[in-house]
């Protein structure tokens, strides 16, 4: 089994990018943002990809891009397809909206709410998208972005408990193993 026939059929209808075949039953395609909705509808209604497995983002900060991954599953064909949508990172941070797909899969609203909170990607039409999901009262930049430094935040926010000290593992083990300093 291969994803090539499906890819060729999709390519004839939609201007899509290259195919990355990860396994015979799993492939990723980069798609232009304006083609996403049509492609999702086609895959869902015509090709049997009825199950939205996940929707998540990857922060490619060096290339100034956010990647949105829409992973769809076709149970009869036992295959998965991942659609990658690249968003300009700076524009997203400044508030450029992304289209919601909650009307295609109601569960997408939860994913979009999480993406809004964790990456700051806005889906303005998605129900409840601006409500706090996990982080109540968060004031910093969205924490799953690569430029959010967890260690710095932790050091600035939490005080170390008195009576504890950190050891360098290598030095500590050396002192344990060779107490005479040999």
């Amino acid at each position: 089994m291969t994803m090539q026939p499906l890819y060729q059929a999709l390519k004839a209808r939609f201007p899509i990018g290259e195919l990355t075949e990860q396994r015979p039953d799993l492939a990723f395609i980069t798609v232009p943002r304006e083609q996403l909705r049509g492609l999702l509808l086609h895959l869902r209604d015509q090709e049997g990809f009825t199950h939205l497995v996940l929707l998540t983002a990857v922060d490619w900060i060096e290339e100034d891009r956010f990647q949105l991954t829409y992973l769809l599953h076709d149970r009869k064909g036992a295959r998965d397809i991942g659609l990658r949508v690249m968003l300009p990172r700076q524009a997203v941070i400044e508030g450029a909206p992304m289209e919601s797909i909650h009307d295609l899969w109601p569960t997408a609203a939860t994913y979009q709410r999480e993406l809004r909170e964790m990456f700051g990607i806005d889906f303005p039409d998605s129900p409840g998208v601006n409500e706090d999901f996990i982080l109540e009262g968060w004031r910093e930049i969205p924490p799953y972005r690569r430029d959010f430094d967890t260690l710095k935040y932790s050091n600035a926010t939490f005080a170390p408990r008195p009576g504890r000290e950190s050891q360098d593992p290598a030095q500590y083990m050396k002192a344990q193993l060779y107490p005479d300093g040999a």
């Binding site: 799993l26 990857v58 991954t69 109601p106 569960t107 939860t110 924490p143 959010f148």
Partner: protein, 391 residues
């Protein structure tokens, strides 16, 4: 004449579809179910708006268990991630280990020895039994039958003993690591496992009599929390919850992994799609796992390597790539989406737990018009573990 509910007290809808609930009218009350454990749903809460004793709206709130696993992993090497992942799901941690290990192996091009596949399958089925036993106790407990939880906890403890002699740990086993598994089976393991399985079967026969043939349990669960098979895909419903609706979704059969192609089994399917059927599907699925463990122990290779040679794990860099690995856990489809960028750290790890869809969109839909007293039974029947929602 058919019963007609009095809808005059119910809220009307605003143009955007949301309910127009005026709390100052005195008709409605806000009630919080959780975040303490109501049954075994873990630390999540549902904000209920009730009218009389009937729920008109429910909103799931999570975040009580957020530890930022996905972000933590971006700062850790691939081998350092391995002891973290199991903490994402306490009652059934092994799926995290398997999905993470399989994703790393695929992207790093590691070949796992045959014997390790058998041991992995064994561990996943043992974990499934543990998870189901905990569920059965919780489901009965949510309806006031405390004794079932005591029985299932006893046999679950026996299974934890088997885990302890296999891996040295009862809860977080950390046994399935990238490259294979940590060790083979100890001497006499098969014999002791057989004794445990017999004890589980005997307890389940009692559970069937006391729980499933109980008039109160039937009366309260038959017809409660109906899930239309038509919305199974729309709401991302998987696992026993989907199978109870007559949709034979089972990753072990649909996209077989590990040694499932070599095992003889058929997915357990129900029809009525209510709380009773979901409980019954899980009970039968548990018995199927008992059978699968017997098949595995009878057929697995007794010798051979259990670990592939790993590169120096302190300097282990994995080429650029992305993949998704799924498995059928006791609650549905569990999956890991792993993205690597050629460095020694994952670029992104995304955990797809079945509770993410079941406890949010699906529960909020099912809970409407439910009686307050039935909410706990409904929540438990979706078998959700909140840590996998908030990772």
């Amino acid at each position: 004449m058919a019963y007609q509910a009095d809808r005059s007290q119910y809220p009307s809808r605003r143009p955007d579809g949301s309910l127009d609930i005026d709390l100052s009218s005195g008709k409605y009350l806000k009630l919080w179910q959780g975040p303490q454990h109501p049954g075994i749903t873990g630390n999540m809460s549902v904000e209920l708006t009730v009218c009389g004793d009937e729920v008109v709206e429910g909103k799931t709130h999570v975040g009580y268990l957020h530890r930022g696993f996905e972000k933590l992993m971006e700062r850790r090497t691939f081998i350092q991630c391995f002891p973290i992942v199991c903490r994402i799901c306490v009652p059934e941690p092994d799926f995290n280990e398997y999905c993470y290990a399989a994703a790393v192996e695929e992207l790093a091009g590691l070949e796992v020895p045959e014997r390790a596949h058998w041991i992995r399958t064994l561990i996943l089925e043992m974990g499934r039994i543990n998870s189901y036993l905990m569920y059965l106790g919780g489901q009965a407990g949510a309806l006031g039958q405390g004794v079932i939880g005591q029985w299932t906890t006893y046999v679950r403890d026996l299974m934890l003993d088997r885990f302890e002699e296999l891996s040295g740990a009862r809860i977080y086993h950390m046994f399935i690591m990238p490259g294979g598994v940590r060790d083979g089976l100890p001497d006499g393991f098969e014999q002791r496992m057989e004794e445990t399985l017999r004890e589980i079967e005997s307890t389940l026969a009692d559970v069937k009599d006391v729980m499933f043939n109980n008039a109160v349990f039937k009366k309260r669960t038959v017809g409660l929390g109906y899930i239309d098979p038509a919305i199974v895909d729309q709401y991302g419903v998987t696992g026993p919850t989907a199978r109870a609706a007559g949709v034979a979704k089972d990753v072990r059969r649909d996209q077989p992994y590990l040694v499932y192609p070599e095992l003889d089994f058929e997915p357990v399917v129900g029809q009525d799609s209510d709380v009773f059927t979901r409980a019954d599907v899980r009970r039968r699925d548990l018995l199927m796992s008992v059978d699968l463990i017997r098949q595995i122990l009878a057929r697995m290779p007794r010798s051979g390597a259990v670990m592939a040679p790993l590169p120096n794990v302190l300097h282990w860099k994995i080429p650029f790539g992305e993949t998704y690995i799924r498995g059928e856990c006791s609650r549905g489809e569990y999956g890991y989406y792993l993205v690597t960028d050629g460095s020694g750290y994952p670029r992104r790890v995304n955990v797809r737990g079945p509770s993410y869809t079941h406890a949010m969109a699906l529960l909020e839909r099912l809970i409407v018009n439910c009686n307050i007293a039935d909410v706990a039974a409904l929540m438990v029947s979706l078998h959700t573990y909140p840590p996998e929602i908030e990772r």
